[in-house]
Symmetry: C3
Subunit: 348 residues, 3 copies
């Protein structure tokens, strides 16, 4: 019997099960450079040690979304190698800044299970936590995925669907901030004078630019996160599959959209939480990704001189974001790739 592992199937999960994921990872300036090359992000806090220091960080923190990808990647071999679909995220909070040299590892708890009526698949809910080398949590999120059964005849587990919050409470945000000194924040260097007070609920922003995805790019990205989900890498196998092509890791679209959102959200220097997220349709190499945002809400934070803005960030494929395409009735526009609901922080 081969020693290689083909991942867990639906009937392998147990409610309350704790999984310690393999492959701890030291994040370095090398990862930061690659992340810049992959997405071209221009947020000053993550780009410049000098800028970060001027507002109270010891140096530039690792981009929040890169932290997410690395923590997420470790969960794939145990949680989603046999996933049919990545259904959603909720209750995602960034709890501590991560700096080059920190080592990240991940654990997950199974918080829900529900077999589908076709008995071929089931939904697995996990709460995953990323920790640094001291064991301190840096990131926590819930995620649910539809996973194949190995054996249709395997008995269904007791159904348990966890109650997940629609949004992260604004009072819970900001845990990953140092003591901020916003007086040191330069609008010229950040790229915009528009701060928290300048954004209004209901406002929509066309992030203007578009970027075309290449196979080599998403493969480099996904491997950088040590995410080994097969559908992203194996054209020989995918040729015979439903789409005939390699699917792009949904997180690659999140990072592209976040980087595009710089144009209009230049001072949104920190992603503090993700309320909800849905990969509405699959992306493929050759697609050109555009993004737009809508301001859904605003909140002051208690401590630091920063406020939170709740943003819907939408990624479209092959359709300019000036369309602000989203839904017709309940139906998503076919151009929508990603519908993400997140909290970003801005200086007051």
């Amino acid at each position: 019997m081969s020693k290689s592992r083909d991942g867990n199937f639906f009937e392998d999960f147990r409610l309350g099960q704790l999984i310690e994921h393999a492959t701890p990872r030291t994040v370095t300036a090398g990862d930061v450079a690659l992340y810049t090359a992959l997405y071209g992000s221009r947020f000053a806090v993550q780009s410049s040690d000098a800028f970060a220091r001027a507002i109270g960080y010891p140096r530039s923190p690792i981009d929040d979304v890169l932290v997410f990808h690395i923590v997420f990647g470790k969960t794939v071999p145990d949680v989603s190698l046999n996933a049919v679909a990545n259904l959603g995220y909720a209750e995602c909070r960034f709890l501590k800044p991560v700096y080059p040299g920190d080592t990240l590892s991940s654990t997950s708890e199974v918080i829900g299970l529900r077999e589908n009526s076709n008995r071929q698949t089931g939904v697995v809910y996990v709460r995953s936590t990323g920790r640094n080398q001291d064991g301190a949590p840096v990131l926590e999120y819930a995620r649910w995925v539809m996973v194949k059964k190995r054996d249709e005849a395997a008995p269904a587990p007791d159904e348990h669907v966890p109650q997940l919050k629609k949004a992260v409470d604004a009072k819970a945000l900001g845990a990953a901030l140092p003591a901020l000194d916003i007086a040191g924040y330069s609008n010229a260097l950040s790229g915009s004078a528009r701060r928290w007070g300048d954004y209004e609920v209901g406002e929509k922003i066309d992030h203007l630019e578009g970027v075309t995805i290449e196979e080599a790019e998403h493969q480099l990205a996904t491997r950088l996160y040590q995410n080994n989900s097969r559908v992203h890498f194996n054209q020989h196998e995918q040729r015979e599959g439903r789409f005939g092509r390699r699917l792009i890791y949904g997180g690659h679209i999140i990072s592209l959209a976040r980087a595009l959102s710089f144009n209009g959200l230049e001072n949104a220097f920190h992603v503090a939480g993700i309320n909800a997220g849905r990969h509405v349709s699959p992306a493929f190499a050759g697609d050109t990704v555009y993004a737009w945002s809508e301001v859904l809400g605003k909140a002051r934070l208690d401590g630091p001189d920063a406020g939170a803005i709740r943003v819907r960030l939408v990624a479209l494929k092959d359709k300019a974001a000036a369309s602000f395409a989203l839904k017709t009735g309940d139906q998503y526009d076919p151009a929508v790739l990603l519908d993400l609901d997140l909290w970003v922080l801005m200086p007051l």
Copy 2:
């Protein structure tokens, strides 16, 4: 009204205007590794800390052309987002070595304006300066670009065309050198025994190798420099444009040509200045780039045990450099991508 910015148009510029560009950037060993992966450069000073130390550097400096790209990239959102053409460079000098950990930022001064007779575009001349975290200039260059007008009816500014030098004075070179100890310079490790004295004015060098460009490569490179010029990234938009394809950032060709030039100029360990440069024709993915050089001049430097060689560095596409293709009369050969006039330094 959307908060995103579509850049400055010709009528937005004023003579004497000072622009502080956004997105300061800490350069790291990660950037160095990516630069090596993108171009395969083999100059020993930039490749080996031990080699650099042996001749007087505290460690390997960042490749000069990488410094140029990072400083340049910051100017794009303000200067050339609406450029029709990047017309030329002049008076470019490297003023201080840059090391991993240094943070670069850029400013530009508008030094010339000239509306074109069609009233649809105008030429903007800027002098851009890159500075490190201490505010010390590390790079200075003049550049002129043809920029669209937003409104044809906008009044033309007073015409002012700056007098730019045809070449950087050799006496002004070498500012970015440490106190050199050329006794520590190993010909075996550098790859050649040919030094400053072995090159003659008029000599041409075929750099022999050719390298084919991929879309993913130039996109990774251009994003690494945080250069957000749209024409490099958006196939969905470019499909409808003049070329039907993504254009490659001209600086990518400069870096490819510089790396190819190692074969024949192994000891040209430092680019000290760029006298003039022209992107003669656009490059696209799939093009194979070759390079050749001609020695245009030589000069001793005052202080260090190094001499300057003025080189014309020509990049060709899909044509071997043994052709030394350049011009027929005033017309450039259609294979010419780049005609660059630069000062490189070599040990005596």
Copy 3:
């Protein structure tokens, strides 16, 4: 006469000749990040400083195969620029761990020469050594390549074919290990509880996953190693050649196979030696690479709490590894890209 060099031809080599190769190279965290992005390797020792420290390393060592590529790359301009074929490797041992910040350089000794009967080519045998900045050997291997003659009429050298061992003696392994503290080795973090004692001679392992190669990826990799062999980069020239396409550096396949082998050999944390290796057929962009392993032998090491496993690692193209395809009689299966015989170490 041009100063550029087109490499050595068969008649340029002399038995006993010592070659000091150019381009010393400081290896950094940037190279590590790129290597992860290129191959997605998940071995915990190389991924996590914390994991490496727990078992006795001062920090994560550089991946052994990356060390091999960097040392190898330096030999290309002198040894194999005019190679027709890379025929084999033997007696490869890793002698000292390499850490970020170390500077590698290479030397080679010509240990054998044999002209082919067609007088157009000959086989050159070299023993190459990689050293760190202190001059300490970190890697040693023998390699033989078939090299073109510049001039068919050049006289043949005295034939000398070196006696190379079929396998590295197990007693010679482990030189690149620190004093190991295997008590600190976590199976949960490494990804498997299967250690040295769990593998049996004759056992075959299907590494399951497949990965499709892109042009940009192998070019980035090969340039990262500063390997300037032309066949990997120049489509304009290769179009006219035997395959009509760019050939992929054989070492790229080794790294892909090693990374795939994680699934089933999770605790094989160190490649200690390469007994033999053959690039059976050329690989091209678009190929999907699979890998399988067979346990050929086992040996206890004297000092550390680790044992050696001798593994045949086979890479296939466009054929799932469940086939365990290798040979029919003496003929390799057409899907076989690589047949590598190596020693890996595992905790007891």
